[in-house]
């Protein structure tokens, strides 16, 4: 990973079109300003992960037996937990 040190208010660029500025920091948080073309999606990491997981789930949901596998797995789990009680 590339690591760069910047002071408050300073900026850096990613490629020609993306500009990042350090706006504020403190209290364990950093406030960052991003200038980027509309074609470049800017997402919180968590939202990116959720979106990627949604795409994966959507690609699997129809026809490949995810639901059946899931029902089977839930039955295994409930049998295991009732026999261990």
């Amino acid at each position: 990973m590339l690591v760069i040190r910047r002071r408050l208010g300073e900026t850096f660029r990613i490629g020609d079109d993306v500009e990042i500025q350090i706006l504020d920091f403190g209290g364990g948080q950093v406030k960052i300003g991003i200038k980027a073309p509309l074609s470049v999606p800017v997402l919180r990491e968590e939202v990116f992960l959720a979106g990627r997981q949604n795409k994966l789930a959507a690609a699997q949901a129809v026809g490949n037996g995810l639901a059946d596998t899931l029902v089977q797995r839930l039955q295994e789990i409930s049998q295991k937990s009732s026999s261990s009680k």
Binding site: E46, V47, N54, A58, V62, L66, R73, L74
Partner: protein, 184 residues
């Protein structure tokens, strides 16, 4: 002329009209196409409107919740717009009965729950909560990072519920949590 009686009667008529409207709305059946289920009949009070869509599916706003006795407790989230798009979900508390919600104030406001004064909604009371399932190499996994939160109160009036996929800010839960034995 007895105005008290008259206004009481008018109120009665109005209440009756409202009740009939709700009943009519819950009686009216619609149809949609689903690649998973073929033609599906549904009522407005089985649908969920996502004002902001879902991450990576921002244009998909309307879904119907489908349950089948053979696949209980799975809840299928079928798009009313795209027959191909059907998520397999489980009630959040089935996957993790001890799950602690952390829905942001903005997300709560987006589904009409802006008046909770910093409190989290209670699953089963103000909201229902689901987690989207996906198959990973190690088995079926639940996205506990981003549960689907549904404000179900509009269903009582025969209208679509309001939903959001509420992505957490903390890293307390994983986006690919495997099902474990102790939780069910």
């Amino acid at each position: 002329m007895n105005f008290v009686k008259l206004s009481r009667n008018l109120r009665g008529v109005r209440d009756l009209a409202q009740r009939m409207q709700v009943e009519l709305a819950t009686m009216m059946a619609f149809e949609t196409e689903s690649r998973q289920f073929g033609t599906v009949q549904y009522r407005e009070n089985e649908t969920v409107e996502f004002p902001m869509g879902l991450p990576a599916f921002e244009n998909e706003r309307r879904f119907v919740l489908i349950e089948r006795s053979a696949t209980k407790p799975i809840v299928f989230l079928q798009s009313l717009n795209a027959p191909d798009l059907c998520f397999v979900t489980l009630p959040l508390l089935v996957v993790d009965p001890a799950y602690q919600l952390a829905v942001t104030a903005e997300d709560l406001a987006a589904i009409g729950l802006g008046d909770l004064k910093g409190q989290q909604p209670v699953v089963g009371r103000q909201v229902q909560a689901y987690t989207i399932m996906a198959m990973t190499e190690s088995g079926p996994a639940a996205n506990l990072l981003a549960p689907i939160i549904v404000n179900i109160s509009p269903w009582r009036d025969g209208r679509a519920a309001l939903g959001i996929q509420a992505v957490r800010y903390d890293n307390r839960y994983a986006h690919d949590q495997l099902l474990v034995g102790t939780s069910c």
